[in-house]
């Protein structure tokens, strides 16, 4: 049993324990959840060890045990440089979500915290599973607690939002299940590493048409989760109706399941199909970037604004992945983490405002900075991070993505950059309308951050600065892992995708391609 197994199963243990606590002891349950989730976070910090002090790149903390004999399903978990940070993001945000819900969740608190921990279990599992079936199991398991979090503790239209969220995701994952099973019937294993090896050495050789359909089966499931335009319509509903902790987990971690899936499974397993579809996908991603930003701009509701900004930000991640460049991949992963930290923080602070003023409408605010200067400061830093100000985290990710994209097709980068500009528009405008101006009587009475709220904001803000300045803590481990994924993708490159390459690079690539073809003969 490795540390990773502990990190995966502690949330489940905590979930089961909470079920046995008496529901009257709300205070005790809250404290227990906080202590448990903090303990999980501390344990998960140990996972960094091999990546900071050792040899990053290969899988670490690997456990491979048989679970079901026939069909051969294995409990195969491990982490690489991509999984590591997503796991840490999950374990960091869970205690913060417990703290966020400390006061706002009074009703049915026991079940709330229990579901939060069950959600953590599912999410951590998704990022560590190296068996396709196990991945699917965790993928679906994470769906149930989130459904309840939205549906029970959400706002007015919570039921509609919860059901929509569930059915959308379910439809996608059913296609993925067909894909996984089809692949199993060809490969005889669900094991990711074996399938990858088989696909590369040709012992598993689906025809191009099969590859394309398999790619699409996986891709649609992930694209719904990301969500990629035009499959994004569940997202504003779910985000707006969810309680703060739900929105945070949804935006910061759950959306990453989609992009993680694209990067881990979709692209490396079916590189040729991915390349051939990339034109369409990039177009959709760019539409998402610009459309999300434009729609965010006109939202009267703060949460909806942040939700649409997620559509825009996640478009960058998809763009980075489908640029098939080292920088694009690194930027995409980095942007996943950045978005997790800064959008999570934005949702948390919108939640703070809601707890104080009981409204999500921007019109209900104005001049908030006067009574609550500290909240205003924290919000400003987060907002600037989200826009992509240098020295803060999002800048690094967006820069890498744009750089990677520009290498492939300069026009794409230009269009995507429009999204960055628009994000400055809607965020600054939001900040202006909420925090500046003359404070009305109700707004003047608002209290500033208390100790609990500090404890939530400060770690996230530190992280934003850290990730914006000391990228060396993160990028090397990410790069080595993305390079492993990029390898087979690059080997199967196809000419016509590269029409937009700078001339020198294009010449070089076509040369190596020609060489490859000669080798193949």
């Amino acid at each position: 049993m490795t540390l990773l197994d502990l990190v995966i199963f502690l949330p489940l243990a905590a979930f089961l324990l909470i079920l046995f606590l008496p529901k009257e002891h709300v205070e005790g349950i809250r404290r227990f959840s906080l202590v448990a989730s903090l303990a999980i976070f501390v344990a998960s910090l140990g996972l960094i060890g091999p990546y900071w002090f050792g040899n990053p790149g290969k899988l670490a903390f690997e456990t491979d045990l048989p679970w079901i004999n026939s069909p051969a399903i294995r409990y195969h978990v491990a982490i690489d440089g991509i999984s590591l940070w997503l796991v840490l993001l999950t374990t960091l945000l869970t205690p913060l979500c417990v703290l966020v819900s400390w006061k706002s969740v009074q009703k049915r608190a026991k079940e709330f915290f229990a579901f939060l921990l069950l959600l953590e279990f599912g999410l951590i599992g998704v990022f560590c599973a190296f068996d396709l079936f196990l991945f699917f199991v965790f993928w679906e398991v994470s769906l149930v607690p989130m459904y309840f979090l939205i549906g029970v503790w959400g706002h007015e239209r919570r039921i509609y939002a919860a059901v929509k969220f569930f059915v959308y995701t379910m439809a996608g994952s059913m296609l993925m299940l067909v894909g996984i099973t089809y692949l199993y019937n060809q490969a005889g294993t669900f094991d990711y590493a074996k399938i990858m090896a088989g696909l590369q050495n040709g012992s598993i050789a689906p025809t191009y048409q099969e590859q394309l359909l398999l790619f699409l089966a996986f891709f649609i499931a992930f694209a719904i989760k990301v969500p990629l335009f035009p499959l994004h319509t569940w997202l504003p509903d779910a985000h707006v109706e969810a309680p703060t902790a739900g929105s945070v987990m949804l935006a910061s971690v759950m959306l990453k399941m989609g992009t993680y899936g694209l990067l881990r499974f979709c692209v490396p397993m079916f590189p040729v199909a991915a390349r051939n579809c990339s034109g369409w996908i990039v177009t959709l991603a760019i539409i998402g970037i610009i459309y999300g930003a434009l729609v965010a701009m006109v939202q009267p509701n703060m949460k909806k604004l942040v939700a649409y900004s997620s559509v825009s930000h996640l478009g960058f991640v998809v763009l980075g992945i489908f640029s098939f460049t080292q920088q694009g991949f690194d930027g995409a992963v980095y942007q996943m983490l950045n978005h997790g930290v800064s959008t999570g923080a934005l949702f948390i602070m919108v939640g703070f405002l809601y707890e104080r003023r009981h409204s999500l409408e921007i019109d209900a605010y104005g001049g908030v900075a006067t009574p609550t200067p500290r909240l205003a400061t924290a919000f400003m830093i987060t907002m600037l991070a989200s826009i992509g100000l240098p020295m803060l985290n999002n800048f690094v990710g967006e820069f890498l993505v744009l750089q990677g994209t520009a290498l492939v097709n300069f026009k794409w980068a230009v269009f995507a950059a429009i999204g960055v500009i628009l994000s400055a528009c809607y965020m600054l405008w939001l900040y202006q309308r909420v925090f500046f101006g003359k404070a009305s009587a109700e707004v003047s009475a608002l209290k500033d951050l208390d100790l609990r709220e500090y404890a939530i904001c400060v770690p996230l803000i530190i992280l934003m600065v850290w990730m914006g300045t000391f990228t060396q803590s993160f990028i090397p481990s990410i790069s080595t892992s993305t390079a492993v994924i990029l390898g087979p993708v690059d080997a199967k490159r196809d000419v016509h995708v590269h029409n937009g390459l700078p001339a020198a690079l294009r010449a070089q690539r076509s040369l190596s391609l020609a060489k490859e073809q000669v080798d193949a003969r």
Binding site: I68, N69, S70, P71, R108, F136, V137, E140, V141, L143, V144, Y147, F148, G151, V152, R158, I159, A162, V163, F166, V167, M170, A171, M174, L175, L177, V178, T181, Y182, Y184, N185
Partner: protein
């Protein structure tokens, strides 16, 4: 070769479960007039003892596999699997019924006797190796079930259910019998193995056509019994009208037994002419899933909703039959066991909740159950999530295994459409979860009494079964895979 008509001891051992159940049932009917009204609870215990003895006998008989009674019966893993399954369903039906019957002032011994006869019939179906035996088992099971469906004889809906079930059921059985006659005329045998041999070797084109027609006629009979489209019309009315514990029984026991003979006849006897029936089963499977799932979306009565859901689930099992490979048979077996667990559990909750006169059977009546009786609601949620097909439940694994078999058999489109269907299905199961957890408790929920011991036992056992099948499917899957070699 002259048949040996003198049964040996081992022959009797092989049908000991049926013998035990028939004896218990007859005993109960004889004793009822002799025992006074206030001691009638004793019948519950006697029935349980009878069932448990039969269960033990069924497991024990598995150690003596083989043909008996002149090849009319066969005891193999497949038969044992379904015998244990239907007897277990019988046990849980008894546990869930006793309070219901008392509540409706209808506690009498004949209910239990009918239940025993019905399960005995299903056991005969599971072990039958010959078309006449199948027919006899089917009739024993069906006739008892027709009466059970109309058990509360003063209740209008019960009467409607029983009459509908009886008339349509007899009609369907006639088709089955006609099919048997055709196959006997064509092949000169009613033994499944001999039919198979005939079709493999001595089949002229005309004979094969005749056998195909027989298969079509028998398909009608079986499809009716498993409520597969286009012969599913009876199911919603009967499920809604029958007493809740009887619906529990019908949706799990007779259905599993009907699928057992369906599989045995079509895989063993009609195995050689697969290409003739596969398209029909394929279309029927798809149609069943679509009708079941889409009609369930519109239901408010929870029994009717579950009836359509049960149609949809029959469709999934039909997918496994359409795959007609060994994995498919194992998948169907596993799925029926998982389905029995989750459906028995779900109907036990409905039985518990409906109260006297089945007053509360609308989905909306369940409002706030999650906060009034958290344990009941949590167990119900497990069953619903399993019916949706969420991982770590038996329902998911069963579904996965079925569609894996379908993909093995290259039924790619059927798999895709079937799985998308289950996304549609998520919607109506979620509605129940929504009502339970996201609405405030209403009058129907606030007046709810605590669980009775019988129903509590059923719920926990079913939930445990659902989870075990979902987390450690190998326990059952290996057995199913080893016993799925029909017609070999």
């Amino acid at each position: 070769m002259p048949a040996n008509f003198a049964p040996t001891a081992i022959d009797y051992l092989r049908i000991l479960p049926e013998i035990l159940m028939i004896i218990t049932g007859t005993l109960i009917m004889v004793l009822e007039p002799l025992i006074g009204g206030n001691k009638r609870n004793a019948f519950t215990s006697v029935t349980l003892v009878g069932f448990i003895a039969a269960l033990v006998a069924a497991v024990a008989a598995n150690d003596y596999p083989g043909l008996s009674f002149s090849n009319m019966l066969i005891v193999d893993g497949f038969a044992t699997f379904f015998r244990v399954l239907v007897i277990a369903v019988g046990i849980f039906t008894v546990l869930s019924s006793s309070d219901y019957l008392r509540r409706e002032h209808a506690a009498s011994a004949e209910y239990y006797a009918l239940l025993l006869f019905s399960v005995a019939g299903q056991c005969i179906m599971a072990t039958a190796n010959e078309l006449i035996m199948i027919f006899i088992g089917l009739e024993i099971s069906s006739i008892a079930t027709y009466i059970l469906a109309g058990y509360l004889r003063d209740d209008k809906r019960n009467n409607e259910a029983a009459l509908k079930y009886f008339l349509l059921g007899s009609f369907a059985t006639a088709f089955l019998l006609y099919g048997i006659a055709w196959i006997y005329g064509t092949t000169g045998s009613t033994n499944l193995g001999e039919i198979r041999n005939f079709l493999m070797t001595g089949g002229s084109a005309r004979n094969l056509t005749l056998a195909g027609t027989a298969a079509a006629l028998m398909f009608v009979g079986f499809a009716f019994k498993v409520s597969a489209a286009p012969f599913q019309i009876w199911a919603p009315d009967v499920y809604q009208g029958a007493p809740a514990p009887v619906t529990l029984f019908m949706s799990a026991g007779p259905k599993a037994a009907a699928f057992a003979v369906f599989l045995r006849v079509f895989i063993t006897a009609f195995g050689p002419i697969t290409n003739r029936w596969e398209p029909f089963v394929w279309s029927s499977a798809l149609l069943t899933m679509v009708i079941g799932n889409f009609a369930a979306l519109l239901q408010n009565n929870i029994k009717r909703l579950m009836a359509y859901s049960s149609i949809a689930h029959a469709g999934y099992v039909m997918v496994a039959i359409a795959a007609h490979n060994q994995v498919g048979v194992a998948a169907a077996m596993f799925y029926l066991a998982a389905y029995a667990c989750m459906n028995v559990g779900a109907f036990a909750v409905i039985t518990h909740f409906s109260r006297q006169g089945e007053k509360y059977v609308n989905v909306d009546d369940l409002a706030g159950l999650g906060w009034k009786q958290p344990v009941t609601a949590a167990l119900f949620s497990i069953f619903l999530l399993s019916l949706i097909g969420v991982p770590l439940t038996g329902g998911f694994f069963g579904k996965f295994y079925i569609f894996k078999a379908a993909l093995d058999a290259n039924l790619v489109w059927l798999s895709i459409l079937g799985l998308l269907n289950s996304a549609v299905a998520a919607y109506y199961y979620l509605r129940i979860l929504v009502v339970m957890y996201m609405h405030e408790p209403g009058e129907s929920t606030l007046t709810l009494e605590p669980l009775s011991p019988g129903i509590r036992t059923t719920l926990w056992a079913a939930a445990l079964g659902t989870l075990i099948l979902g987390i450690f499917p190998s326990l059952l899957l290996n057995f199913a895979a080893n016993s799925s070699g029909l017609g070999k």
